[in-house]
């Protein structure tokens, strides 16, 4: 009886230790990279629809068009490199949106008819697209 109780206690301890090590071994879920304000995001969506970014890009939140000439922008917050080339940072993204060929020579995406402020809002909207 006694040995059986001790056995149970040992098993419980091992399980507890194991569980705690599993928990502590886990990192936090991947953090949202940037958390833009709702106002900036909604201004960004207006600019996206006005400019017709959907002609080439699938963008969650834009029902139509969902063009496929360019890459889908779903989950853009988690994308590593902008256009496979540039670190995904807000300043660079806004500059890329406005004048892609200036930043990535050879890009199919031409300069876009948006202001600096609009480009920043569009970047905010894209950083609100999070797949995790």
């Amino acid at each position: 009886m006694v040995s059986s109780d001790r056995g149970k206690a040992i098993v419980a301890t091992v399980l507890a230790l194991g569980a705690s090590s599993v928990v502590s071994g886990c990192k936090d879920p991947v953090q949202t990279r940037y958390e833009p304000s709702d106002a900036a995001k909604s201004r960004g969506l207006v600019a996206i629809e006005k400019t017709g970014c959907g002609s080439c890009h699938e963008i969650p939140g834009v029902e139509w068009p969902r063009g496929r000439l360019g890459p889908s922008l779903a989950g853009f917050d988690d994308v590593g490199l902008i256009a496979g080339k540039l670190p995904n940072r807000p300043g660079l993204l806004a500059a890329f949106i406005r004048n892609a060929p200036a930043i990535k020579p050879g890009s199919t995406m031409p300069p876009m008819p948006v202001t600096d402020a609009e480009a920043q809002d569009v970047a905010s909207y894209l950083y609100g697209l999070d797949s995790d």
């Binding site: 002609s55 068009p65 063009g67 000439l69 004048n99």
Partner: protein, 341 residues
Amino acid sequence: MIEAVWGWPPPVLDPAGPYSAQVTTLSWALFALGVFVTGVVVVALWVAIKGPPNWKANLGGERAIWIGGVAFPGVVLTALLIWGLTLTASLTEPIRGDEMRIRVTGEMWWFRVEYLDPDGAVMMVDANEIHIPVDTPVVLELESADVIHSFWVPHLSGKKDMIPGRRTLLRIEADRAGEFGGVCAEYCGGQHALMGFIAVVHEPAAWQSWLADRMDTLANAAEPVAQESQRYPGDADLYPTEAEYLERYDARRGYDLFMETGCAACHRIAGSEANGLAGPDLTHIASRRSLGAGILPNHRGTLIGWIGDSQSIKPGNRMPSYDRLSAEDLGHIAAFLELQK
């Protein structure tokens, strides 16, 4: 999405001319009458279910049927018919024959536009957009190349069907300048919902100069279409030298590509070898408000997107996706088309 650009879908109860104003007045009268009749029915129902017994007896009596079921609708509907026909008589007035005429042909899924001179000959071709002067009645000759479409610019008039093998006439008139959206109002196939149209109404002087510009473009169109290139607004700092710019957006190269890759087989550009008639005429594409038949704003980005993969934007439309062209070639063609004002 186009709402941000010129008001989409076009509001149907905001008349901008005498013909649509009458339709709107009639609509409001019918709405009001509908509300009144619905109210009467609801009250009668309440009486029939919960009303005092003597009210119920009256409601179910022969007299109520003679008054409410025969006399009232007879008088109201007759009056409404006479008033409605009188109000909208001008919609069906005979065409005088001296009005400005524009022929609009419905195609799956866009509108071919031909401006006619006083003799009825085509003097200018465009697509998905008409320009008219304010306060001037304009007669539209509506035709169809394939299935039944319906022409509707709610600000300017009622709907009129475009029927294959037949020509229908619709008179429109605007009493204020502006840009008014239109749609195909008769289901015509998969992309019916993406068959849009814009009517641009100019002040008389502006319209005259617009027409003179167009005629000037056509008169000079016999010269080579793209000898020079033109920098896109905003490109100034991007390409410090002309050579660098041309490497990316060379209209001359775009012209050659346009002729070589098949664009010219379906699209016409006046004065060039491009003489295809299957698709929209591109002689003035750069001055249009929209691409893809009233559905996309018109700038270099949407142009490249449309040429490169129009099937993802408007699936089933007759233009194949040119996704076999390189990024550079798409840029060259877009630069060439941007010169076609």
